[in-house]
């Protein structure tokens, strides 16, 4: 009887609840190795520029004179190559994705050693965000 197959499915769906994650109430769990975004501990950075040279999408620009390290989050494909080549291991992959932006320029994230606060951005994009909605 087809009707009983249907009843089974209906009751199961009623008991189990929705198959999707009810997002704002339940936070999505990221695995420890999820490639979310590239972070730079700028205090340890020696501005050697190896990451910029190795980057397949040319997302990283490093300036040794001005002690600046800049990444375009919208270009970055999070391939982890920069993390692998970094000689001081100051680069790391965070397991949370970069926050969504509405303009291309907001994807730029500039870090420099000169300023007192290490985390700054030219387009007002906070760098140390961690858990974004």
């Amino acid at each position: 009887m087809k009707i009983f197959t249907m009843t089974k499915t209906v009751t199961r769906n009623l008991v189990q609840g929705p198959a999707t994650l009810m997002y704002p109430q339940r936070e999505r769990v990221y695995t420890p190795i999820t490639r979310g975004k590239i972070e730079n501990a700028i205090d340890k950075c020696i501005f050697c520029g190896l990451c910029g040279k190795r980057c397949p999408t040319y997302a990283i620009t490093v300036s040794k004179e001005r002690n600046e390290w800049e990444i375009d989050r919208l270009k970055c494909c999070i391939c982890n190559l920069c993390v692998e080549v970094c000689p001081t291991k100051c680069l790391s992959t965070d397991n949370h994705y970069a926050p969504p932006v509405t303009e291309k320029s907001q994807g730029l994230c500039k870090l420099s050693l000169v300023q007192v606060s290490p985390a700054t951005s030219d387009a007002g994009q906070p760098e140390s965000d961690g858990g974004e909605p």
Binding site: T31, I33, T34, R35, P56, C79, N80, L81
Partner: protein, 359 residues
Amino acid sequence: MAHKNIIPIGPQHPVLPEPIHFDLVTEDEKIIDAIPSISYVHRGLERLIETRDFLDFVHVADRICGLCSFMHSLGYCQAVEEIMGVEVPERALYLRSIWAELSRIHSHIFWLGVAADAFGFESLFMQAMRLREPVLDIFEETTGGRVILGVCKVGGVRRDIDSDSLKGIVQRLTNLKVHLEELSNVFINDYSVQHRLSGIGFISREDAYTLGCLGPMARASGLAIDMRALGYAAYKFLEFEPVVETAGDCYARCLVRIRENYHAIDLIRQAVGKIPDGPFDVKVKGAPDGEYFSRVEQPRGEVIHYVKGNGSRFLQRFRVRVPTFSNIPAMIRVLKGSEVADVPNIILTLDPCISCTER
């Protein structure tokens, strides 16, 4: 004689996820000719090899397509390794096979969903998308990415999977198999699905052979063409047999994909049972000098990667021949003589992957 009409279908069409265009020459409801046109989103990835280091190019090869991402990087790495004479550790070969088979499961379940959507079975589409999720979760836990894995590299793989996780993967796939059986039952036994698929889009064994069919399209017509039989990666150590159906219609192509899902789960179970300990990558020195054709079985058929190097870090030529491209002549043959209402079904059962075709 009826009046001839040309009905354009695509590049934007509800059942086509990607841009491909057909001019269908029709007489009443019958199609008498079909003229395909591709290259709406050509990206020029092959040319990029001249400006990228050959080791970094793996990441570009990975991004040729989303559904068969791992197979592309695998094919490219195999070609470069063969030119350079790199001996890949056995553990890396097994891990490559495991990820390749997981990609196949993920792609075939996705296809089942899209096919269900094409013949108007919305809830089946949702169920298929739900079943695909555990595979994506396995990808994220083992590689760090859900779609673009980025684990293959020249000389091995980037990440290892420890034995507990491997056993966990087999356990989760066994659970998935139970749900998959339930889903497959609908595809195999449901009256409306059968009505929509069986007898539609028939291609004979001879036609499939002469028109150069590949993948599930060829295997549904009774041709046992499967590149895994060549024994690349770890397939030489596994008990592998191509899945072949003989009916040659849309229903047979659907059955091939359903059976391949189970076969892939079985191959992963075998690989986990046999995987040896040891290193999972070797250091690569020098640059490739020479040329090689690497053949890999994608979910859609055989993909050929041609790599030519001249001893520098920048390779001279990279070419990808994707299965969708060689299936297009067969698609035209199938479309001729079919009804207009069956066109979306026929196009989808070939599983065209335009992002592969327009790399």
